[in-house]
């Protein structure tokens, strides 16, 4: 029962991601895609800064002690948000989400296969390859 409730929360969180994309597209059309992107990261930074100040664990000193390359993942965030902001109004939310899903799974498969960025190497398996083919077919149908 608790598990089902937790899954509902996660499901709602996934719905929220689409709401976010659905809000971003029209906002970007009005105020500019870069400004819409700024809005996401600015508000997100403020919320997370608040959370971090009151979090039990003091993680910042530890964070900045990590090797530099490990701190660079975040530079890709704006690329992603600018892309969804500018693409969603033209493709619709559904097609955009399926295309993103495809890119995500395909890249994940390759990163795992070659063990990039210190990820444990895992050979391409039939499950995820099959999933990728099905998502490609869905993408062809949906748009």
């Amino acid at each position: 029962m608790k598990q089902i409730l937790t899954l509902c929360v996660v499901f709602a969180a996934g719905m929220g991601l689409s709401v976010e994309a659905g809000l971003l597209g029209p906002l970007g059309e009005r105020v500019g895609h870069m400004s819409a992107t700024l809005c996401i990261f600015l508000v997100g930074s403020l919320l997370l800064s608040l959370a971090l100040i009151f979090a039990p664990r003091r993680a910042l000193p530890e964070l900045f002690a990590q090797p530099r390359w490990m701190l660079t993942g975040g530079v890709l965030g704006p690329v992603y948000v600018v892309i969804i902001t500018s693409v969603t109004p033209l493709l619709g939310v559904g097609t955009t989400m399926v295309a993103i899903l495809f890119g995500q799974i395909a890249a994940g498969l390759l990163l795992d296969h070659f063990g990039v960025f210190g990820v444990a190497r895992q050979r391409v398996d039939g499950y995820r390859l099959g999933a990728l083919v099905l998502i490609a077919a869905a993408l062809a149908l949906i748009h």
Binding site: Q3, L23, L38, C39, F41, M70, G74, G103, I135
Partner: protein, 156 residues
């Protein structure tokens, strides 16, 4: 032509997500998800300020003129992060991934179908139902694939 280009761009967006989560995954393991998310958002904010100032043609309307509900996107993003931190240890990554993607896809076709939030209307036609069926099948594969890897991890 334009459409295929846009789809390619969206695919690329998915690729950046994956790369980001591999780099961040390592970081999250050592310093925690909250600090990792914080760094990601702060870096993103710094870069987007630069983009707004130097890479965006001026507009008549600014963020402060937009209706406030249109500015709430980040709340959903942060809710997602918190929800994942809370649930992955409880239900496992396999189930959590599938639940997120399912919620995401369900909501996206609803937004399109009802033209919510000021988006153009794209009706839920038989083709889209077909796509949904295919996506369900792919979710099943992802679930079982992840389950298998999780149990392999547990043993190893």
């Amino acid at each position: 032509m334009l459409t295929s280009l846009l789809i390619l761009l969206a695919l690329l967006g998915g690729v950046t997500l994956s790369v980001q989560s591999s780099v961040n995954g390592r970081l999250g393991g050592t310093v925690g998800v909250l600090a990792t998310a914080w760094l990601t958002f702060v870096l993103g904010a710094l870069i987007s300020v630069l983009l707004v100032l130097f890479a965006q043609p001026p507009r008549d309307m600014t963020l402060l003129d937009a209706p406030r509900w249109q500015l709430t996107g980040a709340f959903f993003g942060v809710f997602y992060i918190v929800a994942m931190v809370f649930s992955v240890p409880r239900v496992g990554i396999a189930a959590a991934t599938v639940a997120v993607i399912t919620g995401q896809l369900a909501m996206s076709v609803l937004i399109d179908n009802f033209a919510w939030l000021g988006n153009d209307r794209i009706p839920l036609d038989p083709q889209r139902w077909g796509a949904i069926a295919l996506l369900f099948a792919s979710m099943a594969l992802i679930y079982f694939g992840n389950r298998k890897r999780e149990s392999a991890h547990a043993k190893g």
